[in-house]
Point group: C2
Chain length 478, copies 2
């Protein structure tokens, strides 16, 4: 019964008590990092470190075994040698634990003996009413319930969920996207997904009211039919971004030793992605940009893009990038061009699309905002790309303000590295502190303005918004 | 006579005296920035600001006209209203000036009257023995001769030359690549290239002993046949990276209003690039990565790539990226795998290619260097890709040391933004000061280790090295 799984997972995300097995007060074991992370996130329930050789771990009373804990234990986090896991699952069953989150590796992804060991723990857990997350995973992150798997993950909750077959990607995305002002509702590292699998969590995220955008890193799924059927329906409510590893023979072999996944051919996946209205990304940088584009988007009415740029070469390159992605350069109205001519320099610039604001736009922070408003309100324009050498505070504030009237997707191409970089150029281009930048970025995402590292990524993001819009229309015909 | 042009350009890069027209002591005109830049670079010759309404500009005596300057004037920098340019060219002729570098815009790129004005100044200049750079350009940067067009450009000289039809790209590349430890021999912004054109400067750079790698941003060239013929021969001596703007109809239209270039179709350019052994890039980020790959490369012996990664997902994604670019995952020898097993964790990791070093590699800085050496010395490996979440000092030092024995192309995928970023993660991943990082990066490039933002860019760079190697072999058959 699907609803049972959804309810079970909801409960797993809200444990009243968590035991952590594989901790030590003397060494830096993974268990310590996990325990520290949960304490750091301010988990409100009971926390029980378990280790027969310790009295106390990180200031908490340590228990010799699960059975020795007085109260009930909802979740158990296991990061011990794989040989120790089957017995621990028996302990979980005996204790009436609801979920075992198994970080330990050395199971299906190793083949042979590991495969048999994985089947054994699943059998024991299912027979005893314990759900398993993992093994070979990083478990769960959920700021609203105080769960985490790595110290320093953002404490504020957001609306983006990340469901991943790569555990370390959850850390990386948490850190990298976090430093760009992206906040998450939940992260789930499923690892080998021996029991609760990608489909179970995807279904859950479809219902999760905290989540408005779902991001997947997948190498393969067991039940492809169910996956596509779930994705098709969930896409109607929230966009799904998919980074698919194992598209080539080499990648599939790598995926096999990584999470033991059966990947299926690239063509099958391409078809599934199209059919289910999912949005494809191909690396971490692009993913972060796409999250900013899909977090709170205005869905475009058409494919006509206005481009504005300070540097002239990138304006040309952005035009190329947009056309290659099936967008068309908007033909600005005469009135728009007239209004642009009021503040765009007569020489070394261009008021026709792509609008070349010239180097003057690096000194005058009002130029991008004015061009955003003028072009954005032109009824021939559906989408906007802005190439900005270095973001500055007044400029960003102005573009956010313009967007209040424009209300169309705006994709900015800019290097975050240089926005905050102090250099001899700063006297001309200015620079922003990282704290200030993050606050500004969050406001940008909220108002439907995204940030990308290259013009190609911006063009792909806008073109993906358009495809997603078309998917919605095709499923909800007028 | 081609050699005349090469000698003329060499002289233009070494002026004994420079006059700057379009400066003012009271306002921030472009001319002031240009004058300031040259002073800042430590130009050793004579500098003459020219403005009839000023006695003194930036502490230098200001002259009412070119004619009023006592000594000879080799180069004149012109940044005035376009209407004033023709008369100034006459002054240049009268003064016996060798080169006029015209920053002013409002010529061919504006069509009509601007086109006629451009023809007029070229006619006057040629008749009077003055060579023109521009108009609508940023001119020349050359640290060894103290020339620059923007303050804050690196003062140290390097071996990379940049020849560009976009002026602002020269600034951007100088700043962005500069902050990554890339140093330039020369930068040339040709603008409309009314007189001295892309081909002239390309030929010059082919001879220039300071330059070992040539980077082009082009929207179109006048004499395509000469361009290809030059590129074919120069490619044999130094690699040529080409960022080509105006590949699509929209891009070509944009290029027309940017520098008035006739672009030619994308297919013609693709053929030219292949035929001449040039290396194509498509945006600024990729360009910067490719410069690091081509600056001092070991040319690969084949297409067999070893991948190593801490995070498992990106290892799979890197394998996909490499195979899509025509590289093959190397099959590591049994001995290599045995040596890897000595330090790679038994669980949650992989000793077969792609080598998954696991999260342990974030804590133990010796793992990447050891894997680099072990895999690099395997005779089944031609190329190496390393996905590194956050670069750290000991890790980089170790990889550079390993490369002393390996001597094969190593492409690292890593975010510079996070190497220097202080976060709660820093306690685990560490961080480097920007100054230290730049020094390390320079040593990496010197030893044939490149840095890229994504696994796709790394794969394209390695695959481009291989294509370049094949071009060299095809032109120098055994």
């Amino acid at each position: 019964m699907p609803f049972d799984v959804v309810d079970q997972i909801e409960n797993i995300f809200h444990p009243r008590s968590v035991a952590v097995i594989g901790v030590s007060d003397k060494s830096h074991r993974l268990g310590n990092i996990l325990l520290h992370s949960i304490m750091d996130m301010g988990f409100k329930g009971d926390l029980y470190p378990v280790n027969p050789r310790e009295e106390q771990v990180m200031g908490l009373r340590c228990y010799p075994s699960l059975g020795a804990i007085d109260g009930p234990v909802d979740s158990v986090i296991i990061s011990v040698h794989p040989k120790g896991v089957p017995d621990l699952i028996e302990d979980c069953v005996a204790k009436g634990v609801k979920a075992a989150i198994i970080f330990s590796s050395g199971f299906r992804e190793k083949g042979g003996e590991g495969m048999r060991a994985e089947a054994e723990i699943v059998h024991k857990a299912r027979a005893g009413g314990v759900r398993i997350i993992g093994p070979n995973c990083m478990g769960l992150y959920s700021p609203s319930s105080g769960l985490s798997f790595f110290p320093g993950m953002p404490k504020e909750k957001g609306t983006v969920a990340f469901l991943s077959q790569s555990g370390s990607l959850t850390n990386l995305l948490g850190l990298f996207a976090g430093s760009r002002g992206i906040r998450f509702s939940k992260m789930i590292s499923v690892g080998n997904a021996a029991d609760l699998d990608v489909n179970d969590f995807l279904e859950y995220l479809g219902y999760d009211s905290e989540t408005r955008l779902i991001v997947l890193y997948l190498e393969g799924v067991e039940d492809g039919r169910r996956f596509i059927s779930l994705a098709k329906d969930i896409s109607l409510k929230k966009p799904i971004l998919l980074w698919k590893g194992g598209e080539t023979e080499g990648g599939r072999k790598a995926a096999g030793s990584h999470t033991g996944s059966l990947s299926g051919s690239g063509e099958i996946w391409e078809a599934a992605i199209r059919q289910a209205g999912m949005v494809k990304v191909e690396n971490l940088n692009e993913l972060i940009g796409f999250i900013t584009a899909f977090q709170n988007p205005y869905l475009p009415m058409g494919n006509r893009v206005a481009i504005m740029s300070g540097p002239g070469g990138p304006a040309v390159s952005a035009a190329d990038a947009c056309e290659k992605e099936g967008l068309r350069l908007a033909r600005l109205s005469e009135e728009t061009e007239k209004m642009l001519a009021e503040f765009v320099p007569e020489f070394g610039a261009s008021i026709s699309n792509p609008v070349d604001l010239s180097i003057a736009s690096s000194f005058d922070q009002t130029m991008y905002p004015r061009a955003t408003e003028v072009c954005g309100l032109d009824e021939n324009v559906d989408l906007i790309v802005e190439y900005i050498s270095a973001l500055r505070e007044g400029m960003i504030e102005g573009i956010i303000k313009a967007q209040e009237r424009v209300r169309k997707p705006i994709a900015i191409v800019s290097s975050m590295e240089y926005a905050t970089f102090e250099s001899p150029f700063s006297q001309f281009f200015g620079s922003i502190t990282r704290e200030k930048l993050v606050a500004l970025l969050m406001r940008m995402y909220d108002s439907g303005i995204s940030i990308h590292a290259t013009e190609q990524e911006a063009a792909r993001a806008l073109s993906s918004l358009l495809k997603y819009k078309k998917y919605l229309v095709s499923r909800h015909p007028l």
